[in-house]
Structure formats: structure tokens, C-alpha cells
């Protein structure tokens, strides 16, 4: 095995890992505000990638520029997936009697089935080719060749994390969201409506899934059935990092991405198994994930 292979695997891992991390931040935001999350997040990612692809193809086919097409598709995906997130909270989270039961797992799965079916009716059952706005351009560094799209994904991930950080820490709504997460009751005494915050959390989660989908599209072959695998990976990342710790999730994402791709050097079957084996080992030792807080229960 050569150094280039290892370097390549690491870069590839960072790229995938950062996409997982973006999707997983959606789990974080809804979990801290409502103690629930969208088990069908992966299908939202799928929807994002397919809507993005269709918009991109339509605009470029009618003679629009690549970058106009890309930005238009990104904006459209943000709007539609934001609405999807809001709708999900309305139909699958809010009507349930208790947030503590496991009902929300199944109700969000139910919504994801519907989403998957709709996608199948629109885009068919097969996977599609999604071009990157960079085409197939490659940056040649001598020992290493990197696709421009990969660099773009890494930069975008960093930007998204930064935006998310700014939103949570600097904007009033972000502060209110964190306040609800920290102490629901005290937040409502500040005049913050926890239900409204729950809606906002799900809207953001939807948007993150959509953006993740647009970025991941050219890396995988998007199709109606790719949601499960992406959602599962992102969920694994959230759990490894500690679902209530956004920085942990980011690190967890990169870690899983890199390890997975390093294992691929040995065998592709080990890649898949390694992720889940890793999770079992981590959770057996640290049941709150690598960076999760341990809480002492009081009786």
C-alpha cells in the first residue's frame, strides 16, 4: 500500500464524513429542543439530492449557466426541504401524545416511507447520474489528485458549520433555541414559545438534510432508495459524537468517514462492517457517545 492511497482514503473520508456531519446536525437540533429526531432524515437527504439534480438539469438544458443552475437548485431545495421539515413536525411529532415513547420513531419512519414512494413515482426506481457544477475537473497536486467537487464539499461543510454556529450563538432565535434546549421551563418564562422553537428546529433540520443532499448528489448516484444508508450513517455519526454536542458530531463525522475509507484499503466489506462494529464498541464503553455529557439521575 502506498502513501498516496492512504492520503486519498483520508481525504475521501473527510469529504464523506463532513457530509454525514451536516446531515447529523439536523438530529442534534431537533433532539435538544424536542427529544425527538427524524428517523427518515436520510430520505429528506435523498429528496434534496433529487430535487437539486432535476433543477440543475432543467436549467442547464435550457441554456442556463452551471453556477446559476447550482445556486437556483440549492435555493429551491432549501425552501422545499424547509417546508418538509415544518410539515414533518406538524404531522408526525406534534400530534403524538408523548414525546418520550417510541411513537416518534415509527411516525417519522412512516413519513419517510411516503417521501420515498413519492420520489419513486417522480424519479423512478433507478439511480441517476448527478453532475457536479465543477464537472469532472481534478486538482493535480503531484502525489495526489483531488476532484474539485470534493474540495467544494469540504469548504461548504466548513461554511455550513460556521453558519450554524453563528446562528446558534449570535442570532436571537438561535439563542432562544439553545435556551429551550437548556431549560424549557425557564425559556418559556422569557416569553419564548417552545412549540414555535420545535417547528424552527425541524425546519433547520430539513434544510440541513436538503443541503447535504445537494452536496452528496454528485458523490453517490442519487435515487429514491439511497436515503436509508445516508440517514443511518448520519445517525451513527450523531451517536458516536454524542447527540447533544454539535462539535462532537462534527468530529464524529470526520472520524467515521476517515476510518471507513481507511478500512476500504483492506476490503470493501470491512468498510461497511467496521462502522457498526465501531459503534457497538464505543457505546459499550461510553453509552453517551465520545463527547456526550453523562447525567446523574436523581430519585
Amino acid at each position: 500500500m502506498e502513501l498516496t492511497d492512504i492520503l486519498k482514503a483520508i481525504i475521501n473520508g473527510l469529504v464523506y464524513g463532513s457530509v454525514y456531519a451536516i446531515i447529523a446536525q439536523g438530529y442534534y437540533i431537533t433532539f435538544i429542543t424536542t427529544k425527538t429526531l427524524n428517523f427518515g432524515q436520510g430520505d429528506f437527504v435523498m429528496l434534496g439530492s433529487l430535487i437539486g439534480l432535476s433543477t440543475f438539469m432543467t436549467i442547464t438544458a435550457t441554456g442556463g449557466g452551471v453556477w446559476i443552475a447550482f445556486i437556483a437548485s440549492l435555493l429551491l431545495v432549501i425552501v422545499i426541504l424547509g417546508i418538509c421539515g415544518w410539515g414533518l413536525e406538524q404531522v408526525a411529532i406534534r400530534p403524538l401524545k408523548s414525546w418520550h415513547s417510541i411513537g416518534w420513531i415509527l411516525s417519522t419512519v412512516a413519513v419517510s416511507m411516503i417521501v420515498r414512494n413519492v420520489a419513486m413515482l417522480i424519479w423512478g426506481r433507478d439511480v441517476l447520474m448527478a453532475p457536479s457544477p465543477f464537472g469532472r475537473a481534478i486538482l493535480d497536486l503531484g502525489i495526489l489528485k483531488i476532484r474539485y467537487h470534493d474540495i467544494f464539499v469540504l469548504v461548504s461543510a466548513a461554511v455550513i458549520m460556521l453558519l450554524l454556529y453563528v446562528f446558534l450563538k449570535k442570532s436571537l432565535f438561535g439563542k432562544a433555541l439553545e435556551a429551550v434546549a437548556f431549560n424549557r421551563e425557564a425559556a418559556s418564562l422569557m416569553g419564548i414559545n417552545p412549540r414555535l422553537m420545535a417547528s424552527i428546529a425541524f425546519i433547520i433540520a430539513g434544510i440541513l438534510a436538503g443541503v447535504g443532499g445537494v452536496l452528496v448528489g454528485p458523490m453517490v448516484h442519487p435515487g429514491a432508495f439511497i436515503g436509508l444508508f445516508l440517514g443511518l450513517k448520519a445517525f451513527a455519526v450523531a451517536i458516536i459524537g454524542g447527540i447533544e454536542n454539535p462539535r462532537g458530531i462534527f468530529i464524529g463525522g470526520l472520524l467515521l468517514g476517515v476510518l471507513e475509507n481507511l478500512f476500504t484499503l483492506y476490503s470493501t466489506s470491512m468498510k461497511e462492517a467496521a462502522a457498526f462494529f465501531l459503534i457497538l464498541v464505543i457505546l459499550a464503553v461510553l453509552p453517551q457517545g465520545l463527547f456526550g455529557k453523562r447525567v446523574k439521575e436523581k430519585f
Binding site: 403524538l96 417510541i102 411516525s107 453509552p287 430519585f299
Partner: protein
């Protein structure tokens, strides 16, 4: 004792239906669906035990199912065992994996627990997919036509065979449901900490619940392997685990007939929808969503709420075990009293990070006394109780029980030594009746094992009746015999506290810790609770009483320890305490504060 009615409903009618089925629906497709239904049903019965009774989540049941399928295929085809023997062995192998998953997930909660089970299921399906030499991967492997005693089972015979197993497993599950095992599963599903302080080793019981559930999934997988004489790794995917869970929840988790209905939904619906195959997922998802919103307790749960169906209410275990309602005086069964030092706290500290919840506290509890622990909010009383009952392990100091060091004991270990407690924030087993709650308290006295309970032998029903009677007697002592068969969570607060006391007494404790037994009770209920404590004291029981209502504390306690800011500030008889300026200061504010606030003014 098993009644004739049981034989008819549990065994007779299902057998007749099973036998008659092929005469009404004699086409290969329907029989095949019936086989699938029965196989899935067996898996669901097991999952219902886990999810419904013990409140554990599994999104990885497909793993056990796959393990069962592949091991029975291998045992039959490669080792050459009879298919039935290999299915049973496969069930046991799956059970071992169940135990492993339980161990891995012991401390995980909520989404973390979900992830552990998902990861297990995915790991198994990846192995099934990739280990082609053994599993055949997606291309699959062939199995044989099932045969028993030299006879090959045709399609209909195989359906009968699966049905027979389903009936046997159902009977076993019903027996488990109504005996002490079902009760213990439900108990730790409702409240782990309350189960622990009653002497239940929750870890072992979780392992048992996972193993039993995995066994049934494994057997189901084994049966599946011979249904088409072919298995492929494409069957064993996360979606199937989700389907299993949907069946449990839609049917009504924790109910006895829920699995039948739930299985019928997930197997039957696709049959009805086969003309709309393109809209299949959408319709399924829509129905699931509506069901979850409109029927949060599942189909069976929704029906049992209607009064007509109330008598079939299947969540309740039959506890009318011939209890005597005579005028006999109910007596408390207590161990012999001990004089002298019973429990000693030696320099006990409990620090959370920088917070010293209790710091260097020394208390001696003498046998046969009521020892009060009081103090203002945040003084460390609850922490002390949590340390004494083993819920917290102290960060410093030693706990001596009759001279023996029990500092490092887990709560169930401490309960086995004869110490139990009640909870300030009630920890009743909400899905159980009042009587069943108390019966769980007898946990450490029950003798019958798992197999005997599975068969519900005479010994088991005798034991059940014996302890039901004893539980009833305890309820008479606290004055709740009328409420014995009501759901515990329907009682008024004060009475729920009395149920907790009765449940603690069932342990036959040497020391009973009462954690704010009067909090939230009405004045009338407080009188009742005080009377019960007084009578327990007269009967010679040693009690630690943590309480805010000073009328109770001052009247009942022999000796009182006062805590403030995690430290012992004084101790003595009630008279000493009432007149101690340090206590008045702790409760009403010190001279220093008053003078600071009001200039020169002081207590008038």
C-alpha cells in the same frame, strides 16, 4: 393450576382453526401467506415481550432472525441435523446473541439504545451479505424440504407444524405474562430503580428478556429458512426490523392479542395492496401514521378502552387467585429485631464535581428505632437516602450494615441484605395493579424458576396464590385492600405512597427507608400515613424517616439528625432538636441574615 377454559381458548380453538384452515383456503398462495403470518407472529410474540413488557427498544431484531435462519440452514445442510433440532439450536444461538446485545446496551438509553440494536442488526446483515462462502450472500443458499421422522412435510403440513409451534409459544408467553416473570419484566420496564431496591438484579433480567425475545426471533428465522427451501441475504434488512416493531406497536404493545393483530396488519396489508404496488409504501406509511396518531395504544389498546371490551383488558394479569377475605387480623411478617447498631454511616461524602451534596456525615441508626433525617431544601437528605439505598456510590466514607461493609453494594445487593426504601418522586409500577405492585416486593422470596413458570406448574400457581394472599394482607395493614385490583397510578397520591410502603414491607426488610412519605398527601392522608408508620414502629421495625412535615417527624421519631448544606449540624431527641437554635437558624434564617437585612431588627 390450569383451568379447562384455558385449554379451550389457548389450545383447543387455535388447533381447530389451524387444522381447518386448508379446507377453506386451499391454494398454494394463501397457504404460503399463512406460513409467513405464523412465522412472523412467533417473532412478534418475542418482540412484544421485550418492547411491551420490559420497555426495551429493539430495531435490530432482523439480526436474531437472520442468525436463526442461517444457523439452522447450516446445521441441517452441513452438519446434517434434523431440521427441527437445528431450529431449536438456532433459537438458542440467537438467544446467546440476545444476551450479548443486552450487555452492550445496558447503559444506553433512548436514541443510543436504538443505535446499539440497529448497529447489531446491520452488522449481521452485512455479514450475511458479504460472507458468501457460508451464507451465499444475495444469491442465497438452498435448504432442504423439512422432514420429521422420515416424513417430508408438504406445504400444508409445514404450515400445521409452524402453527403448532406458534400455539405452544403463545401458551408459554401467556404463562410468562401472568406469573412472576412477566411481573418482573413489567416492573423493571416501568421503573428500574424501584425494581433494584426491591432486590431485582435489573442487568440479569434485561439479559433474560433480550434472550427470550431473541430465541423466538431465532426460531422464527429457522422456520423461515425451510419455508421456501431457500434463503438470501436480501431478506435481512433494517426495514424488516422496522416492520416487526410496527407490528408490535400497531397491535398494541404489551397486550396478549396485540401480536396477532399487528402481524395480521403487516402481513395482510401488502396482500390487499398488491394491485397498487407502486403506491404500496405510501399507503402503508399513511396508515401507520394515522394509526400512531389516532391509536397511541395500538388497536388492542384502543378497543380495551371501550367499556364493552374492558373485561378482556389484556394488559392486566389475572390476580384474583382465591384471596381470602376473612376477618382474620392481618399480621406483619418482620424479621427478628436487632438491638444495638444496625447501620452506620462513617464519614460518608458524596461530591458531584465541585458540589458537596453531603460532606463527611456520620450517622448511627439503632435497631428498633425510628431515625429522622431532616433539613431545609438542598441540605443533602435525598442524596443521603440515595447513598443508603445504593443508588449512588459515595465518593468517600463507609457504610456498615450490622458491622459488614456494604459501601460498594448495588441497590439490589443492599435490598438482599434487608434494606429497602420508598421514593419521594413516586416510583410505582404504573402498568400494574396495586396488588401486583406489592407482589413484586416479594421478589427475593419467590422460589420457582423460569421453566416451571413457562409450564405454569401447580407449584407456580400455589406460590402465586400464597404471595397474593400475603400481598393482600399487607394492603390490609395499610388500609388499601379495597383498592387491590385497581391500577396503581389511578390512586390518589397519598394512597400511592401507602402502596410503596406496603411494597417495601413485602421485602420483609430489617430497615425501611421512607423518603418523604407524606409529600403531596392531603391532611387526611397524612394522618393515615402517620398512623401506619406508628404501627410499624410498634411492631418493632427499624425505620429511617426523611420528612418535611414536622408534626410527623416530632411525633414519630426516636432520634433525629439535622443536615444543612450537606453537613450534619446536630442530632438528638425531638425535644433537643426543637429547641436547638442551630436548627431554628437553618430553617428560619439566622440572626446574621436577619440583622443584615433589617438593620438591627431581629426575631421578635
Amino acid at each position: 393450576m390450569i383451568k379447562a377454559k384455558w385449554w379451550i381458548y389457548q389450545i383447543g380453538i387455535p388447533l381447530v382453526l389451524l387444522y381447518a384452515f386448508p379446507w377453506f383456503f386451499n391454494n398454494a398462495h394463501t397457504i404460503h401467506v399463512a406460513q409467513t403470518f405464523l412465522i412472523t407472529y412467533i417473532v412478534i410474540v418475542g418482540l412484544n415481550l421485550l418492547v411491551g413488557l420490559s420497555n426495551q427498544l429493539s430495531l435490530g431484531h432482523v439480526g436474531f432472525y437472520a442468525i436463526g435462519a442461517y444457523s439452522s440452514a447450516i446445521l441441517t445442510m452441513t452438519v446434517g441435523l434434523n431440521f427441527f433440532v437445528s431450529i431449536l439450536i438456532s433459537g438458542l444461538i440467537a438467544a446467546v446473541f440476545g444476551a450479548i446485545v443486552a450487555l452492550l446496551s445496558l447503559r444506553a438509553k433512548g436514541p443510543y439504545l436504538a443505535m446499539v440494536t440497529i448497529a447489531f442488526g446491520e452488522l449481521i446483515s452485512i455479514i450475511a451479505n458479504r460472507w458468501v462462502n457460508v451464507t451465499g450472500g444475495p444469491a442465497g443458499i438452498k435448504t432442504s424440504v423439512p422432514s420429521l421422522f422420515g416424513f417430508e412435510l408438504g406445504q400444508i403440513q409445514y404450515m400445521w407444524f409452524i402453527g403448532l409451534l406458534a400455539i405452544i409459544f403463545t401458551a408459554g408467553a401467556t404463562n410468562i405474562f401472568r406469573g412472576r416473570f412477566g411481573r418482573t419484566f413489567t416492573a423493571f420496564g416501568n421503573s428500574e430503580v424501584a425494581s433494584e431496591v426491591l432486590g431485582i438484579n435489573v442487568r440479569n433480567w434485561k439479559i433474560l428478556a433480550f434472550s427470550v425475545s431473541a430465541f423466538l426471533a431465532g426460531v422464527g428465522g429457522g422456520l423461515f429458512a425451510f419455508q421456501n427451501q431457500f434463503i438470501s441475504s436480501t431478506t435481512f434488512e433494517l426495514n424488516l426490523s422496522i416492520m416487526f416493531l410496527i407490528a408490535v406497536i400497531i397491535g398494541g404493545s404489551g397486550t396478549k392479542i396485540g401480536p396477532i393483530i399487528g402481524t395480521a396488519v403487516i402481513i395482510g396489508l401488502p396482500q390487499f395492496l398488491h394491485n397498487f404496488v407502486d403506491y404500496h409504501l405510501m399507503i402503508f406509511g399513511g396508515i401507520l401514521l394515522i394509526a400512531l396518531i389516532l391509536l397511541p395504544d395500538g388497536i388492542v389498546g384502543a378497543f380495551t378502552k371501550l367499556s364493552y371490551f374492558k373485561k378482556f383488558s389484556s394488559k392486566k394479569v389475572n390476580t384474583d387467585l382465591g384471596i381470602l377475605h376473612d376477618d382474620r387480623k392481618a399480621t406483619i411478617d418482620l424479621p427478628d429485631g436487632i438491638n444495638g447498631k444496625l447501620l452506620e454511616l462513617k464519614n460518608i461524602s458524596m461530591h458531584f464535581g465541585g458540589l458537596k451534596a453531603i460532606d463527611d456525615v456520620e450517622i448511627e441508626v439503632l435497631g428498633g428505632t425510628v431515625h429522622g433525617i431532616i433539613g431545609p431544601n438542598g441540605s443533602g437528605k435525598s442524596t443521603t437516602v440515595n447513598v443508603l439505598s445504593g443508588v449512588y456510590m459515595p465518593t468517600g466514607g463507609n457504610l456498615l450494615w450490622k458491622g459488614k461493609d456494604i459501601t460498594k453494594y448495588a441497590p439490589h445487593g443492599i435490598a438482599q441484605e434487608g434494606i429497602t426504601r420508598t421514593f419521594q418522586n413516586l416510583q410505582l409500577f404504573e402498568d400494574m395493579s396495586v396488588l401486583q405492585n406489592v407482589m413484586v416486593g416479594f421478589h427475593r422470596h419467590f422460589k420457582t424458576g423460569f421453566l416451571k413458570n413457562l409450564l405454569y406448574l401447580g407449584q407456580v400457581s400455589k406460590e402465586e396464590r400464597y404471595y397474593a394472599q400475603k400481598a393482600y394482607d399487607l394492603l390490609r395493614i395499610v388500609g388499601l385492600e379495597e383498592r387491590a385490583h385497581e391500577k396503581a397510578s389511578d390512586l390518589p397520591y397519598g394512597e400511592q405512597r401507602l402502596v410503596e410502603i406496603a411494597r417495601g414491607l413485602a421485602l420483609k426488610p430489617d430497615l425501611l427507608i421512607l423518603d418523604e412519605p407524606a409529600a403531596g398527601a392531603s391532611p387526611k392522608e397524612i394522618e393515615k400515613i402517620m398512623d401506619v408508620i406508628q404501627r410499624l414502629k410498634n411492631a418493632g421495625l427499624s425505620i429511617i424517616l426523611v420528612e418535611h412535615h414536622m408534626d410527623i417527624v416530632m411525633n414519630v421519631c426516636d432520634y433525629i439528625t439535622v443536615l444543612d448544606f450537606g453537613k450534619k449540624i446536630c442530632e438528638g431527641t425531638p425535644e433537643t432538636i426543637q429547641n436547638d437554635p442551630r436548627v431554628i437558624e437553618a430553617y428560619l434564617g439566622g440572626e446574621e441574615v436577619n440583622q443584615l437585612v433589617a438593620g438591627t431588627r431581629s426575631i421578635g
